[in-house]
Symmetry: D2
Subunit: 421 residues, 4 copies
C-alpha cells in the first residue's frame, strides 16, 4: 500500500489517471478478440482479465468506499476479477481465468469507460479529496502500470505457444551497432548504508521503511550480461554441467529440458528468439533476458562472479537518474546498450530473497495484502525493462518473481566481493 499521499491532485491527477488508463487500452490495440481470452499458464492472465481486474481495483477500493452514489457495474464481476484479495471475498480460481469468454471484450471496454468516467467525475467534484482516497487512487495507477508490463509478457507467452508464431507488432528498429567500450566495474568500499524509500512521493509498502544495512566491499559491472556472453556459457556446456547450478536449478533444467533462455531456438548455426515482433535473430550485444534466477545464478558461477544483492544494486543505482529503455521507446526487445546504466532494457535478478524490510508494516484491510503476503519463495529483481512504463520505476523499486520464472524480461548483472583478506 502507499505510504504517502500523491503530490498530484485535481486536474494534474485527473490527467495522469486518464493517461495511464488509456495507455493500458492502447497496449491491446493489436489484439484480436480471441487474443483477449487465452491464458497460457496458471501464472499468466488473459489480456481481458488484466483490463477488467485493474478496473475492478478502482471500482472496489476507490469508488465503492468513497463515492456513495456509485453503483457497482455488475455485482457478479467482483468474483471474476478479484485477483488475490482474500478479505474481499471468493474469486475465480487463477488457473480458470482463461475460461472467461464472457463478459465479452466490448463489455469489458464499457466497464472501463463507466468506471473511468465515475472516477474522473469524482475527482472533479472533490469527492476523493481526502488523503486516504487519493492514496488508493495513486496505488491503483501504480497497480495498473504493473499490469501493463504483465499484459505484454503474458501475451508474448501465449503467442509463443501458437505454432504460427504471430507477431504482436513490429518493434522499433534498433541497429546492432558498435560494441560497448570496456568500462571497469564500479567499486564500493562497503560499510553501513541506508536503503529503501524516503520522502512523500509514492512508493509501494515493500520499499519501506528506509533502513540500514552493512555491506562488505564489492564491485559491480556497469552493464548487463549480453546474449553473446550467455551464448558462450551455453557453448561451454552450461546447461549440461551440474557444478554451476543450485540443486533446485539443476532439477528445473532437467525437468524442463532447458537448453537456452526461454524463447531461444537454434536455427542451424544461429540463435533466434521469439518476441513480440515474432521470431527475430538474437543480437549478441543486446542484454540477455527471459532467464530464470537459476540460470542467472549458474551463469554468474560459470563467470567466476556472483549476482549482486539488492542493497548493493540500490546504493550504486541511486547515483544515476532513472533513465533508460522503457516501454515508451516502443522497442519490444531489449536493444544493444552503448553506455552503462541501471534502468530499463531488462530487469536484473539480485541474489536477495524477497523479504520485508526491518520495521515493515502492511496496511490494514484488503490493500494490506498487496505485497507482504508474497514475501517467501521469491527473489528480488531491480531496474525495470523495456516493457515497464517509465514513470513506474524508482531507484527503490522492488520487483519479485519465483526463481524458476522465465517469462518476464529478466536478465543478469554481475558483481563480486572485493574484500581482501
Amino acid at each position: 500500500m502507499t505510504s504517502a499521499p500523491s503530490d498530484e491532485s485535481g486536474p494534474g491527477l485527473a490527467d495522469r489517471f486518464s493517461r495511464v488508463r488509456r495507455a493500458t487500452v492502447d497496449l491491446t490495440e493489436p489484439l484480436s478478440a480471441e487474443d483477449f481470452v487465452v491464458q497460457s499458464m496458471p501464472d499468466a492472465s488473459p489480456a481481458k482479465w488484466h483490463l477488467a481486474h485493474t478496473t475492478w481495483f478502482f471500482e472496489t477500493f476507490v469508488l465503492t468506499p468513497h463515492v456513495p452514489s456509485y453503483e457497482v457495474f455488475d455485482e457478479a464481476w467482483g468474483f471474476l476479477f478479484n485477483s488475490y484479495y482474500e478479505s474481499v471475498g471468493p474469486r475465480q480460481p487463477r488457473p480458470q481465468r482463461g475460461m472467461l469468454t464472457r463478459p465479452r471484450i466490448d463489455e469489458v471496454r464499457e466497464y472501463r469507460e463507466v468506471v473511468d468516467e465515475a472516477v474522473l467525475s469524482a475527482l472533479a467534484s472533490g469527492a476523493l479529496d481526502d488523503r486516504k482516497a487519493l492514496e488508493v487512487l495513486e496505488l491503483g495507477l501504480n497497480h495498473e502500470e504493473q499490469h501493463q508490463e504483465l499484459l505484454l509478457t503474458d501475451i508474448q507467452h501465449a503467442f509463443s505457444l501458437n505454432p504460427l508464431r504471430p507477431a504482436y507488432r513490429r518493434g522499433v528498429a534498433s541497429p546492432e551497432g558498435a560494441v560497448r567500450t570496456a568500462t571497469p566495474w564500479i567499486e564500493h568500499a562497503g560499510g553501513v548504508v541506508g536503503i529503501g524509500h524516503t520522502g512523500r512521493e509514492f512508493s509501494f509498502d515493500n520499499e519501506r521503511p528506509h533502513h540500514h544495512v552493512y555491506l562488505e566491499p564489492f564491485a559491480m559491472s556497469p552493464y548487463r550480461v549480453t546474449c553473446g556472453e550467455y551464448a558462450e556459457f551455453i557453448a561451454d556446456g552450461g546447461y549440461r554441467r551440474p557444478e554451476f547450478w543450485l540443486s533446485d536449478g539443476w532439477a528445473a533444467v532437467r525437468e524442463g529440458n532447458w537448453q537456452a533462455p526461454l524463447y531461444w531456438e537454434r536455427h542451424g548455426e544461429n540463435w533466434m528468439r521469439f518476441s513480440l515482433c515474432g521470431m527475430v535473430p538474437v543480437k549478441p550485444s543486446s542484454p540477455v533476458c527471459h532467464v530464470s534466477y537459476y540460470e542467472a545464478d549458474a551463469f554468474a558461477r560459470w563467470a567466476g562472479a556472483r549476482l549482486p544483492t539488492e542493497a548493493e544494486w540500490e546504493v550504486l543505482a541511486r547515483a544515476e537518474p532513472v533513465r533508460g529503455e522503457f516501454a515508451e521507446e516502443g522497442s519490444l526487445v531489449p536493444s544493444v546498450e552503448r553506455s552503462p546504466g541501471f534502468f530499463g532494457r531488462a530487469w536484473t535478478w539480485t541474489k536477495s530473497p524477497y523479504v520485508e524490510y526491518p520495521g515493515f508494516r502492511a496496511g490494514p484491510g484488503a490493500l494490506g495484502e498487496y505485497n507482504g503476503k508474497f514475501m517467501v519463495n521469491q527473489l528480488v529483481l531491480r531496474g525495470g525493462s523495456c516493457f515497464s512504463p517509465r514513470r513506474h520505476l524508482r531507484t527503490t523499486y522492488r520487483n519479485f518473481f519465483p526463481p524458476w520464472a522465465r517469462w518476464q524480461v529478466s536478465g543478469i548483472r554481475l558483481a563480486r566481493d572485493t574484500r581482501t583478506g
Copy 2:
C-alpha cells in the same frame, strides 16, 4: 471409413454438402469471437477448431488428392487442424488447442468459404466423379455432422465453467406435461440374430460387417430412465453406497466428488441443471442425461436391472423408424417423452465395450485411422440425442465414449435377463 459409395451425386450431393456445411456455421451464430477459442478440458475442442478441422478434412482427403489444381489454403494450418491422423503428419497437441487465438475466426470463415467453393466447383466439373472421391466426400459430411454435436457439447462444458453461466440461446419450450403411461417392457426370446450394417448406403466402418450374435432371452424398457427416477437413486444414497458401483466407478465418484449428474446443482429442495439455455429446473419426467457409464451401471444395479448390450438394443430398435427429438427440433435439453422410442433425446449407454465386429477391416491409409484405433477403453452408446443431426443417425450407428465421460448427452435405458433357469 465408408464401406459403400453414396447414392447421391451431382446436384443432390452438392446440395447436401452445402446444407451440412452451412448447418455447422449456423450453430456458431450465438457465439462471441472469444467463445470460439476456449478449450475447457483436453477432451473438448474450441468451436473454431471444429470449424477449421472439418474443413481441413475436405481439403486434405478430397481436394488435395482429387483436384490437382487446388492449392492448399495455408500449409501451416495442417499442423494446427489435424486431429489424430498420425499418417498425415505431426499435429498441434490436443490439450493445446485452446492456445490458437490465431488464425482469427474471420480467417477460419474464409478458409471454409474457399474450401466449400472448391468442393462445389469440383463437384460441378465432375472432378470428383469416381467412387473413391465420392466415398470420402460422404465420409467428410458424416464427420462434419459428428462435429456438430461435439461443438454443442464442448460449448456447454466451456460455458459451465464460467461463473456467469451464460446461455448459448433460449431453447424451444417443452412443457412438462402428462406423465408417460406404464408400458410393459419389450420382450425378446433370444437366439441367433444378425446385427451391423448391410446395403449400399453410407455407414461408418465400425458398423460393419453384418454378422451374427447369440442372445439369451431378455426384456428392455421402452423408455429412457427419467430425471425423477435418477433423483430417487440419489436420495437413496446412490452416490454414497459402494455396493452399486464398479470399482473404477467408485474411485471416480470419490475423486471427482460426484453427487449427481454433471451440471446438476441443488438449489434448496430442488435440482437445477446447467444447459445451453443457462440454468433450468430439472424436469422429473425428462430423460436423465450427462451421466457417465459408471453412473448408468450403478443406477441399473440399484434398480435391480442391467444395461442392455448393443446387440439387444439394435434388434429391438430396428422395428422402429429413426424418429425422435433430434437437433432439428431446437430443444437444447432432452424433453419429456410421451411415447416409447429408441432414437433421439439422449444417447443411452450400453454395457458393450467398443470393439470391432468380427471380420472388421479398417480402410487403407490415413482414413483407416478413423474408428478402429479407438477400440479399447470405451463403451458403446446408441440412439442419438437432441444434439444429433437427424440425418446422421442409423439403427446400426455406434457412438463410443470412455466410461467416465459425462459431458455428452448420455442417458440410461434398462434391460434384464428373462431366461428362467
Copy 3:
C-alpha cells in the same frame, strides 16, 4: 464367488488346505525380511501383505462366521489386510501398503499358524460341515493360489527396480533346444458354441453361467508368439510406427518410452531380460511375455493377424487336457515350447474385454465383490503361466488385467478370420 461346493471334504480337504497354505510360505523362502515390505507400485503388493491378506480372508469369511469360539487374532489388522471388500469396512489405502513395516514378518507368520490351526481344527471337528462354509473355504484356497502368482510377479517387479538386480533364485535350466516344427493353424468352422463353466466343480463366479455365443469361422496358431518373432517386430520399427497401435496404446508407448517388453534390455547386439533368476539372455524360441495388451494387439496387426476372442480360445483349448509348464515345474521364465499347447508357460491376451457372461449373478454380501466389480477397463487373458499353480487352472478360467499392464507373465497368441466372402 463359488457357484458350487467342493467335492472334497474331511481329510482330503484338510490336506489340500495344508498344501496350498504351505506352498505360499514356501514361495517366500528366498526372501529377506526387508524384501517382504516393499511395494514397487500401487498395483503391486508387498509379499508380507500377500501372506497376511490371504490369511485374513480365511479368518474373516470362514472362521468368524462359522466358528463361534474363534477370537480374531488382532482387530486392528482387519483394516490393514482387507483388500477391496468395501462391505467389510475401511482399509489401508492400496498405495500405502508398503508403509506397513509392522506387523513384522514373524508376527504375520504366527498369524498364519494360528489361523491355519483354527481352520484345520474346525475341519476336524465338523464345524465347517455345511455347504456354505465349504464353499467359502474352497474359494479361499483358490484366492490363495491367485496370490501365489501375484506374489511372484510383484517380487519380480520390486527386484527389477533395484540396480543390484537381485535374483530371487536360480531357475530350473531349460535348454534352448530344437525349434518347434511348423504346425498348421487350427481351423474352426464357427457357429453357435457353448462356453463357460458347467458341473459341480469349483469355478469363480465370472466363469458362469455356461452360455452360447456365435462364432464366425476362424483359425488360431497352436503356439504362442516367440521372443524371436517379437524381436523382429521391434527390429521392423514396431515401437516407432503408429499405424500398428491403438490410439491409447500409442500414447502409452510415448509416455512410457516403451521400446521392448518390460524387463528387456539391449546389451550390444543382444537382448537380455530381467527375471526372477536375475538377468538372463532372451531365448528366441521361448514365448514372449511381459507385454501389455497394447503391445500384443500391435504385434498382431503387424503380423497381419489379430488376437483371438476368449470364446475362440476356449472352444479350441477344451480339446486338450490342462497340461503345460506351471509353477510346479520351477521354471521361472517361460521355456521353449516344443509342441503345441494352450496351457501354462505364459498367459495370452485375448481381444475380449472382461465383461460378465449373460445371466451372471454376483453372490450376496462381501464375497459378491470378488469379481464383478472389476468388469470394466480390463481385458481377458487365458491359459495360465509358469507362475500359476497347476491345480488352479481350468479351461474356463478367466484372468483379467488392464490393457497397459506388463508385469504379469502375459504373452501373445494369434488368430485370424477365415470367412471367405
Copy 4:
C-alpha cells in the same frame, strides 16, 4: 566443508570416531529388519540408507583418496548410496530409495564394520595425518551426526503412516510440572554486529565467514512458543483465516487440509500427538513442534509479533552456553521448559532465507556441493532439538528446510521490532 582442521587427532579422534559411529547404530536398535527399508516420502530416507550413506561418505572421501591399499567394499553400492554429489557420479533416484531391499541390513552392518576398521587402522597408522584428510574425517563425523537426527525424524514419519501407530521406544518421562515464570523479553539495541563462525574449531562452510550485519533494535522471547499457546491460535480459527498467512502458506493449508501441527490429532476435547513414543497427550507447557515455516509465520502474525532473523537469534544466543535438551537426554518429545534457553528441545524457524554469507566460498570438488547448492527456497532454523546430538550444535549452526516442511522437530520463537519512531 570444514574451514578448519580438527583439534583432535590420534587416539582422541579415533575415540570420537568410534563413539559417533556407534551412536548411529545404537539409534537403530529398536528397529525391525522391515523398518530399515521403508521410505515414507521422497524427502525422507530409509534407516538402512542412512546407515549406508554415512559409511559411503567415509569410504569415498576419506579411505579411497587417502588409503591407497583400501579396496572399495562393493563398487555397485556407490550408485546406491551417493546422496547428491553430482561430481561423484550418477546415483539412485531419491524417491526410489525405498526399493532397496538389498543389500540386506546385515550386509550394511558388515559394510559399516569394514569401513570403521579401515578408518581406525588408518588413523592408527598415521595414514590420515594430513590436514586435508583430518578435515574430511571431521566433516564426515558432523555429517553423520546430521543423519542421526534425520534417521529419527524419518522413522517417526514412516511410523506415523502405519495405522498401528507403532512406538519406536518409550521416552524418558518428563513431568508437566510447574509453569514457567513470566520472564520479560530480551531487548537488543541494534547496530552493527558480527555473526558467523570464527576460530579454528570445526564448522560447516555455510557458517562462514564471520561478517557484519546491521540490526534495528528488537526484542525476543526467552522461551519457545508452547503447545498451549499454539492451541489458542487454532481455537481462534488460525487455520481458517487467510489474513494471518503468506499466500503460499495459505495454499499449503488448503491443499494439505492442515488443521494443526503435523502429528496432532483431536481426541474429543483433547489434542494427542504421534511421537516416537506412540500417541501421547499434547502437553500445553511444552514447546510446539512439527510446524512448517508457514505455520510459524502465521502464528507470529496472529500473536502480533514476528519471527526473529538468524542474526538476531545469534547475537542473543551467544550469551549462553550450548546447553539444553539434546538427544542424549533420551526425551523423544520436547519437554516442558522451566527456564529460558536457546538450545535443544525444538529448532526454531527464523525469518531468514537460507543464503550464503557475504564472502562465502564453497570448497573445491564434490565436497563443495555440501551446503552451497541448497541456498534457495529454504529458511534457516536455529538452536537444535531433542533429536540433535549435543556435540553437534554450535551458536553459529545453521539448519535449513523448505517452508512447507513439518516432519522435523521445528518450533517457534517470537521477536518484535522495538524502534520507536
